[in-house]
Every structure is written in C-alpha cells, then in structure tokens.
C-alpha cells in the first residue's frame, strides 16, 4: 500500500523554520504534484519523505507506517533527482541494478528486473553504455528505470524535467504520466512549473513560504482558488486582479467602473479584490472600455494587454483581435466566472 500521510510536519535549519506545519494525505496510487515558487520548501518536504532530511517535528507515514526514524532504504521509496544523479562509473544496467545488488538479490533476478524496466522505458539497446554516452532524455529515463527496478511503494520526483529542452519536456511529461497509469504507483512530484502541475497531477498541493496554500484537483484549483496566491499562481496568463469595493450587488473599481457580479456580492464590502481569468473577459457591447496596450497573437489565441478600470489586465481571446495599441475595446467580465477575495486576508469570499 502506497499511502503517504504528512502530519503537522515542520522543518527548521537551526533557528530558521522553513516548513511551518504541513498536512497532506496522499491516497494509494495517486499522482500528487507539489508546486510553488522557488524556496517555498517543496524539495525540503520531498527530501523529508525520502529520509534525506531530518523531520524536526510532526510525522510522515508511508503505507501506514511512521517512517520518521527509518533509514531511506527501509522506507520503500525511490527518488529521481533533478540532476539525474547517475553513477558515472557504472553502465546503464549496473546503474539500474545497483539497489538490487546492495540488497543481495541473486543475479538472475537482478537481470530479469533490469531487463523488464529497460523494456518499459525503451532502454534495451543502451544497457551497456555509460551515462556519459547518453543524451539528456536518455539519462532521465535511466534515472526513472533505476526507480522502477526497485518496485517501491512510492516514487518521488524532484523537478525531473527542468534540465531538458522544451520539446523533450513535453514528451517526457506524457511518458511519466503514461508510466504512472501503467504501474499505478503512488507518486509525489515536485515542480515549480504550474503547467506541469496542471497536466500531470491527480491532485495539486500549492505551497508558498513553507505552508500549504491549497490542495485539490487541477480544475478545482483553477475554478475555485482558495486565496489570491493560488489564484494568481495557477493559470497562464495569470488571473487579472482588480481592486475595488462591493456596493449594491455590483463591484465598483477604483476609477468608478462597475462590474455586474451576477447575483453574488449581496453584502456590502469596503475593500475587495476581483479576480477575472483572461479567457473570461468577453469582447462585445455593454462592457467596460479597455484601451489596448499590446496585442500578442499566439496562433490559437490572441493575448491583449489593456488598461481597464485604471489597471492593466490581460485578455485571452479565441477570435483574432484586429485592434491596434491605443484603440479602445469593450470588455465584459463573464459574470459566472468571477472570483472575489478579501483584500486584507487574501482569502476567497463565497457568495
């Protein structure tokens, strides 16, 4: 059973606390992505699961067993490092079979399992090479093979794709996903790339400054971000945030422009933030005037930066926008897809 339970986990280096009580429950077979900006403590948390960092307080359990005091090899986990960390003096086959060799598995068994992992990853023809003779993508696959061979309860990945070029990254992303579907092994995957998180995860854990901001499925986080941090971190281009107040069921921006809240915002509030995703700004009559600053066609969509309600906003439109900088568009925020946040706490405001 590959459940992972992280309960009130804290980490301090000396007097500096970098994780402030993290709780995450991961079900057997789940693909969970830890995502957050640089320095938020994702790697630290992953390394604590792996047993490479001491747990200052709280408990981590793998498969129902508290692993705080167990050595890495007793935790039934395998880890893929950002730099691959392949042993340069061993062949691909030796790299993959190293853990079995240490566990004194017999040679036939070792070869069988290495061959099996090599077949899954398409590495059969490379088994006698050294890591130095492989491309980046091949090294990445060998690093995964090394984990697969051990057949652990949990796979841990720390930014495994960040050294690959953009195209290979997309390809490896789907390979890892396919591998997970095939093996069904619980996976904890660290990245700072929110697209990677959105496309790969069953559930995403958004971290910020050593705390968990929100846990949920990718679309949960996208549709109902719990706070302003998650709202702006998930999604690209990022969500637009307008400052203003609620009065008479309408949002009043700083410059006095009004937005219909579609039946929400019954209570009057002095200081709120209105979040609108770029694709929820709809061009058409009856909207707010927006003066175009830049137009960026991406082919499938057109991204327009414009001045609306005294602030810069970004709109993403399926239709091709022909306007030029300086022209004025009429944009209407889609009333059903608006997000309201408390300006002081940053928390989401419901109804």
């Amino acid at each position: 059973m590959g459940t992972v339970t992280i309960d009130q986990v804290r980490k301090a280096y000396g007097t500096l606390e970098v994780l402030h009580g993290v709780n995450v429950n991961i079900a057997d077979g789940e693909f969970v992505v830890l995502v957050g900006p640089s320095g938020c403590g994702k790697s630290t948390l992953l390394r604590m699961i792996a047993g490479l960092e001491e747990i200052t307080s709280g408990t981590i359990s793998v498969g129902g067993r508290v692993v705080n005091d167990l050595r890495p090899k007793e935790r039934d986990i395998a880890m893929v490092f950002q730099s691959y960390a392949l042993y340069p003096h061993m062949t691909v086959a030796e790299n993959m079979g190293f853990s079995l060799k240490l566990a004194r598995a017999d040679k036939a068994e070792r070869q069988r399992r290495v061959a099996e992992a090599a077949r899954i990853l398409g590495l059969e023809s490379l088994l006698d090479r050294r890591p130095g003779q492989l491309s980046g993508g091949q090294r990445q696959r060998v690093a995964m093979g090394r984990s697969i061979v051990r057949d652990p309860a949990v796979f841990l990945f720390d930014e495994p794709l960040s050294n690959l070029d953009a195209k290979l990254r997309v390809q490896m992303r789907s390979e890892i996903k396919a591998l997970h579907q095939r093996l069904g092994t619980t996976t904890v995957y660290v990245t700072h790339d929110q697209i990677e998180a959105m496309t790969m995860a069953d559930r995403i854990v958004v971290m910020h400054g050593g705390r968990v901001e929100q846990i949920g499925t990718p679309l949960d986080l996208y549709d109902r971000p719990a706070n302003i941090f998650v709202a702006t971190f998930i999604g690209s281009p990022a969500m637009n945030i307008l400052e203003g107040r609620i009065s008479g069921g309408r949002f009043i921006a700083a410059d006095g422009s009004e937005v219909d809240l579609g039946g929400r915002g019954a209570t009057e509030r002095g200081h709120v933030l209105l979040g609108v995703r770029p694709e929820h700004l709809v061009p058409g009559p009856g909207g707010l005037p927006a003066q175009i600053i830049t137009v960026e066609p991406t082919g499938s969509e057109t991204h327009v930066t414009a001045r609306l309600g005294g602030q810069d906003v970004v709109g993403a439109f399926r239709e091709r926008i022909t306007g030029r900088p300086g022209d004025v568009l009429s944009l209407r925020p889609h009333p059903a897809a608006l997000h309201l946040f408390d300006a002081d706490t940053g928390e989401r405001l419901e109804a």
Partner: protein
Amino acid sequence: MRAPLSSRIVVYGFSALLAAVCLFPFLWMIVSSLKELRELYTIPPSWIPQNPTLSNYATVLFSSNIPRYFLNSVVISLGSTALSLALAIFASYGFARFRFRGKAAAQSFVLVGQLLPTAAIIVPLFVTLRWLDLVNTYLGLILVYMIITLPLSVWMLTSYFKAIPVELEEAAIIDGASRMGVLFRITLPLSLPGLVAVTVYAFVTTWNEFIFALCFATDSSVKTLPIGLAEFTTEFNTDWGAVMAASMIMTLPVALLFLSMQRLFIGGLMAGATKG
C-alpha cells in the same frame, strides 16, 4: 580546428625547452653511471662514455649495502603510503561531507602540521620515538613519514571528495547503501585520480626523504636509499660512478610509478553523472 602554424611552433618550442631542462640531470646521471671513474673527472666532460662499463652497477649491487637499503625503502615507503592513504580517506571524507563542531579548527590544525619546519619537529619526534622504543625500526619510520605526508594528503582528498556531487551519494543512500557503502562504491571509484595523486605524492616524498632517515635510522637494517647514496662519500673521496649508478636504481621505481599512473591522473571520470 588547428592553431595557426606560428603559435604551434611557439608551443612546441617551449615544451621542448622545458623537457630538456627537466631531463638534463636525469640524462647526465645515466651517462655518468656508465663511465669509468677516470673519465668522470675529464674536462671538458664527454657526452658519450669512451669505454662504457657496468662496473659501477656491479659495485653497487654486489659490494655495497644498497640492495638492503632498497628493500628498507620499499617497506617503509609502501607502509607509510598505505597508512597515510587509509587515514586520509576517512579524515577527508569526514571533512568533505559532515558538519560538526570544530571542523574549521581541525582542518587548520591539519595544515599547521605541514607548515612547521623540519628542524623544529626533529627533536620532539626523536624524543617520542625513543620513548616508544621505535628508533631504528620500520614502524618508527613508517609513523614518522605518515605524519609528514598525511596533512597534504588530507587536503588534496578533501577537495576531491567535495567535487563529487552530493546527489550521487544521496541516490546511493536511497538505493540502500550504507555510509561505508557510499564511500567505497561511489566516492572512492570516482576519486581515482585524486587517490592516485595522493599515493604518488606520499610514496615519492617518503622515498626521497633524507633528514629524518638520517636521524632516526642509524642501523643498516633500516637505513633507506638516500642514506645509502651519502655513504659512498667517505672522508677523503666520493665514488661518483657508484653514486650515479645507485641514483639510477633509486630513480627507477619512481619513474615507473609515474609512467604507470599517468593515464589515471587525467580526469574525465565524472562525465555523465549529472546534467553536465
């Protein structure tokens, strides 16, 4: 891509000059060891021996203590090199990988040992050896040379170990290796050039050392080759032919050591470990 002819000529020219300067004493040693004693004193000196002879070698091999001293040198140099290497590996690994109280101070002390002048430590060492009853023993000399070669060995190996990515060791730990397993299966194989450099340094330093040997080895059962060379000089004259022949014999193992290890000095072992 080839460098332009002019710069290649300069490079080759200087390399040849450097090689000539370095090899001249060696060449002169070979030539002199094959000359008769008379010819050694002729002026101007001759480059080709007029009557090449092996009699100097015969003298050294059959009617001097050199063979015994050679054996002593081998035992003492191998012993102190092995001891020094073993201790340096563990000390350096500790310095390179662990954080502990007093580490910086410990590292500085290791180096201070290296900085003390020979003359300042001879007497304390002699007193200590006397007290331990180790004067004129193999073990005594092995320990003395270990003390001399250990500090620099530790410094060299520490920087070698530090250069190995920590992630490699962490990967091995996750794969189930113990600390010792990591050291012997990952760190040491990847530090081979460093280990070779330290071995050669410790061996050559011990092999050539004169002052300590002179003070602590007064019995021919433990005297080493450098002392043997000095013994060809008596109060009234020096058998230069024999000195040259003995020098050849003394130089040979070191030259062989360097040649056989040369390939390993050259790095490139880390290729492919990480993104690199």
